[in-house]
């Protein structure tokens, strides 16, 4: 029961093969059994879930339910959920009970999908390993001594271990795609502005984008149909109609031009991952696609530009945590400054402090032009690099991550080595493009992902390519032995 696709669950629920309550209970039982090992959930909302399941069952019985009604889903703990703790992986928000639902959560509720709980994540989505969470690291279900990736590591691990059929994630520099790759699942970061950021706790607002994480591209298409759309509550939401993302899933790849940037295959890339990426390209070629070598020479500037822009925006966004209106407040403050300083210093962990301080530095008087404006210029060069590539090709294929999942603790003492692992995902955020990671093989039993990047609003095309690939491969069907 726990290993089906959303389309299968939908069919089974609508035909009353089992009820949403039974399905929900199945996943709650799996969470109770396996999550003590994985630590992928911060909060499990069992009672709430069973009530929502009963509501969904009523709607299904009445015959007017959404196709995904009654299917369980987990929310990354960055999305505000009414009357449910929303911690963002931080001590700062350990006591925060959200007073409203994020737009994404509202959309899922409207479809009568059942929230199982809130998934673990790097603190304020800052991290690539889930080790910066106040609630402790999440384990990779394939190798429990390895990281699941981050920042949406709880969501990725929970989907991979089949503790939930699907989950939400957010992606500022790779936080959906990198953990999807490390956990052997499929995840998409939509075009910037496609999914509402309202109620999604802000890290770097010009880059943050929510998206779904699931086992297959078809599942992602169904979920994105629920999540995407214009939201007047989000000032950067794109006012543009949403297509049905399932519509072209079955389109043939004949004539599709797939670009392989030659710069991706340099010295930093594990040779076995390079090989698996070429194998994925060959598979697409068999399906009728044309593989074209392209050059994208500016992408190597994206990590340095990102570590100016993202911390700058984070230092501004996280200025709101002052111990006054909500969140952690230090005890016995001697004056207002002491209240601010101690509340923030106690509430934030090291990685968040580092990024706030870098952001504060690059935005401070005398440095703004040299760092921030310069980085914004680099950002334009990166966007142009993509636009030039899209004159030659329809989608760009490459590795998602240069290495297989690393060991817990391996990179915590050296933030830079952690930052460098996001080399293939970060430029996509800087350009605001959609990117998808899908499973493409294993190295020593550890899952490897490849990334597809498309032009603006080409989510349907990426899902089409991934779906066709998944119709002809079975990497996405593998699941970790320990959690069968």
């Amino acid at each position: 029961m726990h290993n089906k696709t959303l389309a299968e669950y939908s069919k089974d629920l609508q035909s009353k093969k089992y009820s949403s309550r039974e399905l929900t209970q199945c996943f709650l039982d799996r969470i109770a059994q396996y999550d003590p090992t994985l630590n992928s959930f911060i909060t499990v909302t069992a009672e709430h879930a069973l009530n929502a399941a009963d509501e969904a069952d009523k709607k299904i019985k009445a015959g007017h339910a959404h196709p995904l009604a009654g299917i369980p889903v987990a929310q990354k703990d960055i999305f505000c959920t009414l009357d449910v703790k929303t911690s963002c992986g931080s001590r700062m928000l350990d006591n925060f009970i959200a007073p409203y639902d994020a737009t994404v959560v509202k959309h899922f509720n409207h479809a009568s999908m059942v929230m199982l709980g809130k998934t673990n994540m790097d603190e304020f989505a800052m991290g690539s390993s889930n080790e910066t969470s106040f609630y402790g690291p999440v384990k990779n279900p394939w190798h429990t001594d390895c990281v699941p990736g981050g920042s949406s590591g709880g969501s990725a691990a929970a989907v991979a271990a089949r503790l939930t059929p699907a989950a939400t994630g957010t992606d500022t520099g790779g936080s959906i795609r990198q953990p999807a790759a490390f956990c052997g699942i499929t995840g998409i970061k939509p075009t910037y502005g496609r999914v509402s950021r309202y109620g999604m706790i802000a890290y770097a607002s010009s880059l943050d984008q929510g998206g779904p994480m699931a086992k297959t591209a078809e599942d992602l298409a169904l979920l994105l149909n629920v999540m995407a759309g214009f939201d007047p509550h989000d000032s950067t939401s794109v006012d543009r109609p949403v297509s049905d993302y399932t519509q072209i899933l079955n389109q043939s790849l004949k004539g599709l031009r797939v670009g392989l940037p030659k710069e991706f295959f340099g010295s930093g890339l594990d040779p076995k991952i390079a090989e698996l990426t070429h194998q994925a390209a060959k598979e697409l070629e068999k399906l009728g696609a044309e593989i074209i070598e392209i050059s994208m020479s500016k992408l190597n500037l994206s990590i340095p530009a990102y570590y100016i822009i993202a911390p700058a925006e984070c230092s501004s966004n996280l200025a709101r945590y002052d111990g006054v209106r909500y969140g952690h407040r230090a005890e016995h403050p001697k004056d207002l400054i002491d209240l601010y300083v101690r509340s923030r210093s106690e509430g934030f962990g090291d990685e968040v402090k580092r990024r706030i301080m870098i952001g504060t530095y690059v935005l401070s008087a005398g440095y703004y032009d040299a760092y921030y404006i310069k980085a914004q210029k680099i950002r334009r060069l990166i966007s142009e690099d993509y636009q030039n590539a899209f004159k030659q090709v329809d989608v760009i294929l490459g590795p998602t991550i240069p290495t297989p999942p690393f060991k817990i603790g391996e990179k915590t003492s050296d933030p830079i080595s952690m930052y460098l692992s996001d080399i293939y995902t970060i430029p996509v955020n800087l350009a605001g493009l959609p990117g998808l990671s899908m499973p493409a093989g294993f190295i020593d039993g550890k899952p490897i992902g490849v990334q597809l990047v498309g032009n603006y609003f080409e989510e349907a095309r990426l899902l089409n390519v991934a779906h066709q690939y998944q119709q002809n491969t079975d990497w996405h069907k593998q699941s970790p032995e320990m959690f069968k």
Partner: protein
């Protein structure tokens, strides 16, 4: 090469309203210096004819009519505040 000194670290921490413990300062100076050295790689690129990009889609900020659309829910929002009294947020006295 940027090297963040303890004095600079103290200044940045003050601006960010953070306090770094004495024992953690060497590690923070070292980490922030490494990050700045990483980001300074962008200086190698000539960008004199490039205009800065704040938003990937180059859209402008949307405006809406200046009308009240939400109801006032002060009590609900103050329920999650650490300390309130009579509808006010309580902080230490600013002026003695």
């Amino acid at each position: 090469m940027s090297n963040i000194t303890t004095e600079q670290l103290d200044k940045i921490a003050h601006l960010a309203r953070l306090k770094i413990e004495e024992t953690d300062k060497p590690k923070y100076c070292n980490d922030l210096s490494s990050i700045l050295n990483l980001v300074e790689q962008i200086n190698a690129e000539d960008t004199s004819n490039v205009s800065p990009s704040a938003h990937s889609l180059d859209v402008t900020q949307r405006v809406r009519p200046d009308e009240v659309t939400e109801k006032n829910e002060r009590e609900k929002f103050q329920k999650i505040a650490p300390l309130t009294e009579a509808g006010l947020y309580i902080v230490p006295p600013v002026i003695e």
